[in-house]
């Protein structure tokens, strides 16, 4: 069993080769990328200690992304389920509509600092793509977004945002035409253009530095939540923090400040899509997109195809940091099917005013399963990390309606 280190940020618990628990992560990349990622690591380590940069980042988070996102109790849902108290950290209220706004903005800021004029990123659900496109526009960078053709068609509203913001959307038509192929193609683009392009990886995946930048950026969520909890409860109550897992960036951000708590005090629960669930189905460790991680493969070691209605979850791998949290026993992982996510959306939107996208609908599904089994003193918090507008068409196809 791997042991977590106390008082050391999760992202920094790696060895000099970028491995967490000597098992997850690393830098499995082409020689051509080694120098650029080393430069980026140095720059990031400098910037995260640089007062001026941090001030600038906070300024952007506050004024460009709209500041603290709300935290509130879902009274109707709580009453309906009749068990634990259910609270919502509504990250979808951010300007940019999803947690991806944080690390898109940070990546654009880092790109600016590096002196590079081009930024490239991958996207599945289009949330990272859209936010990167907007941040690039704001900071005067030329932006390319790589996206599978299947996702371009199922997440059309976000594609329009990207194009309107002036980004070039590069369709990726290889393999399963989804996120896994988009990430591969984006990495190829970087291998060929690393002299003038900054690579912004869309989740907490990839070579060591990319997942560090990502999880560092999204940790804003748990910094806010900690304060909000203390304000509401006067302390950190007995908690369960439920978060959907695609690559795992929102969960890492949601959990970061609570890693050192005992799991009986603050339990961390990750919810994957049922047919894209390496962490909750005992997948093997594999190397994908530059890092060792729990990943779905076939016997031969080829990367397996996944299936999810949710483009953001349709990915065979998982963040190396989630491998670490799983093997150390700090977090536990489960999954929800398309059907369960849709049913959750139906119930939540009937009772409450939030409109989650398909990704957080998976987290809500676990919340609905769990709440009735718990006591009133138990507090469940769900990260409602994305807005539903992008999935309106899918919801209408599947449920026959999209609530007002």
């Amino acid at each position: 069993m791997i042991k977590l280190k106390k008082k050391i940020p999760l992202i920094d618990q790696h060895n000099k080769f970028g491995f967490y628990g000597n098992k997850f992560g690393g830098n499995f990349c082409a020689e051509t990328m080694r120098k650029p990622i080393e430069d980026l690591s140095k720059l990031f380590e400098k910037l995260r200690k640089d007062r001026k940069f941090l001030k600038k980042k906070d300024h952007y988070f506050k004024h460009y992304l709209g500041g603290e996102t709300p935290f509130f109790k879902l009274e109707n849902l709580t009453k309906h389920l009749g068990g634990a108290q259910i609270w919502c950290k509504d990250v979808s209220a951010i300007n940019g509509d999803a947690h991806k706004a944080y690390h898109a903005t940070v990546n654009a800021l880092i790109c600016k600092e590096s002196g590079k004029r081009y930024i490239a990123g991958d996207t599945g659900a289009g949330m990272f793509g859209k936010n990167l496109a907007m941040a690039a526009k704001k900071m005067n960078l030329k932006c390319k977004i790589f996206m599978g053709t299947k996702d371009i068609s199922r997440q059309a509203p976000n594609v329009k945002f990207m194009r309107d913001a002036g980004a070039e959307v590069v369709p990726v038509d290889s393999g399963s035409k989804t996120l896994v192929d988009a990430v591969s193609e984006c990495m190829r683009h970087y291998v060929s253009n690393c002299d003038n392009t900054h690579l912004a990886v869309g989740s907490a995946i990839g070579c060591n530095i990319f997942l560090k930048i990502c999880a560092w950026s999204t940790s804003q969520i748990s910094r806010e939540l900690k304060k909000q909890l203390i304000k509401e409860f006067g302390e950190i109550p007995k908690l369960k923090l439920i978060n959907v897992i695609g690559g795992g960036s929102s969960a890492l951000g949601f959990w970061n400040e609570f890693i050192d708590f005992d799991k009986k005090h603050v339990e961390l629960i990750g919810v994957e899509a049922k047919y894209a669930a390496p962490l909750s189905t005992n997948a093997r460790v594999a190397i994908l997109h530059g890092a060792a991680q729990y990943c779905l493969t076939d016997k031969e070691g080829q990367i397996a195809e996944t299936h999810s209605l949710s483009a953001g979850l349709d990915y065979p791998g998982s963040s190396p940091l989630h491998g670490l949290l799983k093997d150390s026993g700090r977090a536990r992982y489960t999954n929800a099917s398309d059907k369960e996510a849709l049913a959750a959306f139906k119930l939540i939107t009937k009772l409450e005013d939030i409109r989650p996208s398909l990704e957080p609908a998976h987290a809500w599904s676990e919340c609905i399963r769990l709440a009735p089994k718990l006591k009133k003193s138990d507090v469940l918090v769900v990260n409602n990390c994305g807005k539903g507008y992008k999935d309106k068409k899918i919801y209408i196809e599947q449920l026959g309606y999209y609530p007002k």
Binding site: F28, C29, A30, I287, A292, G301
Partner: protein, 266 residues
């Protein structure tokens, strides 16, 4: 045959020419076809590189991706590759063969088991695209112990300090990536600049055999012939794609192409 890679360079040097190295994907487009292709072109080659197809090839351009895709569609597996190497070596015992692939395929198979299989099948060298220095130290040692040449890569982005370390830890052959790119793009740098980079490496350790690869075609190959060796990959894979599209025999077409390449460097 011990040290057949070194030997291949020696032979080429004696004939006062660069060594010609092909890259094709094992199993493209079928297991037998890929062996037929290699058998047919080997008379014009000094060393053969065979790609292990992977479905997430993050450092390959479109041409090699297509080849890998065809091979995987036709069901190639690692054990097939070892068998094909064995069959190739049965008739071409002294022709060095290098397997090139992504670390995931080795990791999944098990490093030790993989190297043991390489050894018994007659594999002479290995290139692992995404296992770079210093992460490859242990694996390279394991190769050496089993008389397999672990080929290190050097890119245009590699710093001088790093280059020296890589060369120091390298075996008899080093692979220099010509330009900042994946496989299969055009040469982005001038020939002069590529040769300059090559000379930097050679100067650090003249005894190492340094080959240049990525983006070399019929058009550019003769300009680079001062190198110890030249690798042509995507251009060959492209020819296989073209042949299949026109329902022509890739074996004859690829053989013609490799003959032409050879004629440009002698």
């Amino acid at each position: 045959m011990k040290n057949s890679i070194n030997n291949a360079f020696k032979v080429a040097k004696k004939e006062n020419r660069t060594a010609l190295i092909s890259y094709t994907v094992c199993g493209d487009n079928t297991k037998d076809k890929s062996l037929q292709i290699l058998n047919s072109i080997s008379k014009d080659l000094d060393i053969a590189e065979w790609g292990i197809p992977h479905n997430c090839p993050t450092a390959d351009g479109k041409d090699i991706q297509n080849s890998s895709y065809r091979a995987l569609q036709n069901g190639i597996r690692l054990n097939d590759i070892f068998n094909l190497v064995k069959r190739f070596k049965r008739t071409k015992q002294s022709k060095p063969i290098i397997l090139m692939g992504y670390y995931q395929m080795i990791f999944n198979y098990g490093e030790k088991k993989f190297i043991r299989k390489c050894k018994v099948s007659g594999v002479d060298g290995l290139i692992v695209v995404d296992l770079s220095f210093p992460d490859n130290k242990n694996f390279a040692k394991l190769c050496k112990k089993n008389s397999i040449c672990f080929v290190q890569l050097i890119a245009p982005t590699t710093t001088m300090k790093r280059m020296k370390e890589i060369i120091k830890s390298s075996h008899e052959m080093i692979y220099m990536i010509s330009t900042i790119s994946t496989t299969g793009s055009k040469l982005k740098y001038s020939i002069k600049r590529i040769i300059k980079n090559y000379n930097i490496i050679k100067k650090i350790k003249p005894s190492k055999n340094v080959v240049i690869g990525f983006g070399i075609t019929e058009k550019t190959i003769s300009n680079l012939r001062s190198a110890d060796g030249l690798v042509v990959g995507s251009a060959i894979c492209r020819e296989i794609t073209r042949s299949l599209k026109h329902r022509q025999n890739p074996v004859t077409n690829v053989s013609k192409l490799v003959r032409k390449l050879k004629n440009k460097i002698i």
